[in-house]
Subunit: 98 residues, 7 copies
C-alpha cells in the first residue's frame, strides 16, 4: 500500500483485485484465460467523495485497506508499475468483506 | 445467519435465495435446469441505506431475517463459502412475506 | 383478502387480476390462450409509499379493496398459493373503477 | 359524460376520441382501416394531478368537457362498456381547441 | 392570426411554417418533394409556460407574432382547417428572427 | 457582425464557423470535400441564458465576438442570407481561444 | 505551458497526453499504430467549474500542471499549433498521479 501514488478523484477508489486460487485440487495451475475474473479486492486509495448539488462533499463509505466485493467488469484497469489496479466508483462496490 | 461476513454498501441487501421444492409429487428430484429460479429469499444483511442529496441516510424498509420477494434476475450472485447469495438493491425487493 | 401475506414495499401494490368473462354468448368456454390479458384487478395490499428525497413518505392514492385499471404487462406475476397476483408500482395504475 | 366511472390517477385524463368524418364528398363511407387515427377528443375525467417532490399536488391544466388535441398513439386504450376511451397523461395533450 | 383556436398547453407554441420560395430563378415551380422542409415560422399562439417543481409557471421567451427558427422535424403537425400548423415545445425553438 | 438578425433562445449561441486554410503549401486549393469540418468559430450572438428551476437566468460564459472551439457536428446549420451559421448550445462549446 | 491559449469552458480541462515509451528494450521504435493510446496527461488549463442549479460555480478538483489519469477515448482531440491536446470534462479524470 505504501507505494500507491494515485489520488482518485471524486467518489472513486483504487482497488487491487485479489486473484482467486488458480491451483486446482490436483495441483494443476490454471492458465490466465481459465481463471474467473476476480470480484474481490483491497482498497488502496479512496477519493474525497463526490460533491452534491451545493458543492459539499458526500463522505465515502469505504476506507483504505478494506476488502471489498465489486460488480464484474466494474472500473477501469490501470497499470501501476508492474501491478494492475482498478479505479472504480464507490457505487460499483457491492459490499465490504469483514 | 451467524457466519455472514459481508456488509452490503448503501441501499443493498444480502439475500439467501430459498430454493423451490424440487421433488415432484411422484418423488422425482428435478435436475437443476428444470427448477424455476427462486424469487423468495431470506435477508442476511442490510446496508445502512443510500444517502440523499444532502448526504443524509434514508432508512431501509427491510430487516435482517425477513423473507422477501424479489424480481427475477435481480442482484449479483456472490459465492459465500459454499452457498450462493445475492446482493441486490432494496428497490429490487417487491415485498415482504409475512 | 384475509389470507394475503405479502406486504408490498415502497409505492408497490399487490393486485389480483379480474379475469374477463371467458364464456361466449353461445356458451363456449374459451381456452386460456384465447383470453385477453385482464387489465382490471382488485387491490389486495398497498405499500407505505415511496420516500421523497428527504426520506418522507409520499401517501398512496389507492386503497385496499379498490378495483383498478392497469397498463398491459404491468407488474411482476407472483404465485400466492394457488392464485396468481401482480405486484406493480402505483405509477402503473391508470385509474380507479368506481 | 354522466356514465363515466373511471377516476384517473395522478396527472392522467380519460379522453373520448372524436372520430374524423368518414363519409367522403361522394358519399362513400370509408372502412375503419382507411380512417386516420383521431387526434382530437373530449375530456371525460381528470385526475387530481401528480405530486411534486414534497408530495403536494400540481394542479391540472385541462378540465372535464374540454376538446383537446393529443399526440398520435398517446395513451392506453380502454373499453368502457361499448365505447373505447383513452387514458393519457396531461403531458401528452398538445393543446385545447377553443 | 385572428382565427387561431388552439390554446397550446404548458411550454408549447403553435407555429405556422413559412414556405421557402419555390419558384426558381428561371420561373420553374418546384414540386412539393423538391422543397426543403421550412425551418422558419410565425408564432400563432403561446402556452402559459411549464410549471416548475413547486407548481409555479416559468414565463415563455417567445411571443405571438414573432418569426422563429426551429429545428428540422420539430413538433407535431396538426391541420387547422385548410392550413397545417406545428405544435412544438419552446425548447425546439432555436432563435427569433429580428 | 452588424447584420446579424437572429436572437438565439435560452443558452444558445449563433456561431460563424472559421474555415481552415484550404490552400496547400504548393498553392493548390482543396475542394470542399477534402476540407476538415471547422471546429473554430466566431460568436455572432448570445442568448440570455437558460432558466434554472426557479425561473432565474443562469449567465452565459461566452460573449459576442469571441473565437470558440466547439465539438464536431455541434449545433444546427442555418443559412443567414449567403453565409451559413451554426446555432448551438453553450454546453457544446469546448473553450475560448485567447 | 506558456503558450496555451485555450480557456476551457465550465468543468472542462485541457490535457496534453503523455506518450508511452515507444522504444522497446531492443531499441526498436514502434510505429504510431502499435502504441497504446496514452491514458496519462498533463493538465494545461482548467475551467472555472460548472454552475450548480443556482448558478454558483462548483470548484474544480484538478489544477494546472498536475499529471492525471483519464478514461480511454475521453475528451475531444484539438490541434494546438503542432501538438494535439484533449479537452475533457473533469468527470472523465480518474485520478491524479502524485
Amino acid at each position: 500500500m505504501a507505494d500507491v501514488n494515485i489520488r482518485p478523484l471524486g467518489d472513486r477508489v483504487v482497488v487491487e483485485p485479489i486473484e482467486q486460487e488458480t491451483t486446482t485440487a490436483s495441483g494443476l495451475v490454471l492458465p490466465e484465460t481459465a481463471k474467473e475474473k476476480p470480484q474481490t479486492g483491497k482498497v488502496l486509495a479512496v477519493g474525497l467523495g463526490r460533491k452534491d448539488d451545493d458543492g459539499d462533499r458526500i463522505a465515502m463509505d469505504v476506507e483504505e485497506g478494506q476488502t471489498i466485493l465489486f460488480a464484474k467488469y466494474a472500473g477501469t484497469e490501470i497499470k501501476l508499475g508492474e501491478k494492475k489496479v482498478l479505479i472504480m466508483k464507490e457505487s460499483d462496490i457491492l459490499g465490504i468483506v469483514e
